[in-house]
């Protein structure tokens, strides 16, 4: 009897380990995460507008229907990325996600404080190679370190009312996401 109790106890303890391992492995193993869904629709290092969510179709779940959305699926292995996103009249934000959907940085138009959100995205290794004087002199040059080599930059522009959606989409259409190959 006690022997079986021990087997059961062992099974529950081992079950706890299985539980933790599967939860921790899920972000790497998931095949339907945001990056995988967008990989089928978007070329790399280019800004692509996402179709507006409708009742019939949305690329990702729980997208805010009041926003125009564009995505740059980035790959830093060939060099850093230069992002330029003009702000729309209402509200514009740029959010950076790792390959496994962690939002590691977000900035909005007011925090950017200019008429466009401009920044450089690079890996920590690429950042370390930026000449120091360049880093200092360009004080207004915003450099973001990406924790992963690939990931997503998501640009969102608010349409305060449905009739202004075209305006929000136009604002995002002129945004640029360019790879800067190392010489």
């Amino acid at each position: 009897m006690t022997r079986w109790l021990l087997w059961i106890l062992g099974g529950i303890l081992l079950g706890g380990i299985v539980h933790l391992a599967t939860v921790l492995a899920m972000p790497r193993a998931a095949s339907q995460d945001a990056y995988s869904r967008l990989a089928a629709l978007t070329p790399v290092n280019r800004i692509v507008p996402l179709p507006a969510s409708t009742a019939q179709h949305s690329v990702l779940p729980f997208m805010d229907p009041a926003f125009a959305v564009a995505v740059c699926r980035y790959d830093l292995s060939a060099g850093s990325i230069k992002l330029n996103a003009p702000v729309s009249q209402a509200y514009t934000s740029v959010t950076f996600y790792t390959r496994d959907s962690v939002a590691y940085y977000a900035i909005n138009d007011r925090a950017a404080g200019r008429r466009a959100i401009e920044l450089d995205l690079m890996t920590p290794a690429q950042h370390a190679q930026v000449p120091e004087e360049e880093d200092v002199t360009a004080a207004d040059r915003l450099i973001i370190d990406s924790p992963s080599t690939t990931g997503l930059i998501v640009l969102r522009a608010l349409a305060p009312e449905p009739s202004l959606m075209a305006m929000a989409q136009r604002a995002l259409a002129s945004a640029q996401c360019r790879s800067q190959p190392v010489e």
């Binding site: 022997r3 339907q32 995460d33 995988s36 969510s53 949305s58 779940p61 805010d64 977000a106 009312e161």
Partner: protein, 192 residues
């Protein structure tokens, strides 16, 4: 023989317990560090690198991209103020004020996060287009049939989720220390 049986039994039990609890936590949406105000719950840390492993596993499975903490914060309501789960065949009123934010939006989804088809193609409101009372408060009628004023159609589906997003709001930054803010009250009115 006994050892083999016991080992097999233990492994089988471990698989059932481990995978079962993982499945349960992911389908129920377990996450830590939540901020609840009335019917509304937000997980501000899910929009940062401090996301907890359960929330991380959940978004990886669903394909959602959580709102970044420098962008805003999203509050989810799956039921009214009394805790009763939403039924899209009933009507609800969402009224009151919101915490400070430069902009906010509210949107209605089915439980998978899709928008819900309806006759007037209305899926939510923004802070700019909502019709307000003289004191700045507002009332949204969430109902299957047309209502005067701010009508948010449920499309008559059984279960729905309301998501209130505050953009450029101090709530996203100082979330865990914030006392109860003025989130809108959610009241069940009638059922058809």
């Amino acid at each position: 023989m006994r050892l083999l049986l016991g080992t097999l039994f233990t492994f089988a039990l471990a698989a059932i317990v481990g995978l079962g609890t993982t499945w349960l936590t992911l389908t129920r949406g377990v996450a830590f560090g939540s901020l609840t105000i009335g019917a509304w719950t937000a997980w501000p840390k899910s929009g940062s690198q401090d996301i907890d492993p359960y929330a991380h596993a959940g978004i990886a499975r669903d394909g959602e991209l959580p709102i970044g903490i420098g962008d805003g914060v999203a509050f989810y309501a799956r039921g009214d103020d009394t805790g009763q789960v939403f039924d899209g065949r009933c009507s609800f009123s969402v009224s009151g004020m919101t915490p400070p934010a430069r902009f906010w939006t509210v949107a209605l989804y089915d439980i998978q996060g899709h928008l819900v088809a309806n006759a007037i193609d209305r899926h939510g409101f923004t802070s700019e287009e909502i019709v307000r009372n003289a004191d700045g408060s507002f009332t949204i009628a969430v109902a299957p049939q047309a209502r005067p004023g701010n009508w948010l159609p449920t499309g008559g589906i059984e279960r729905f989720v309301l998501v209130w997003r505050l953009y450029d709001s101090p709530i996203g930054v100082a979330a865990t220390t914030l006392k109860e803010g003025p989130m809108p009250a959610v009241t069940r009115k009638s059922c058809s």
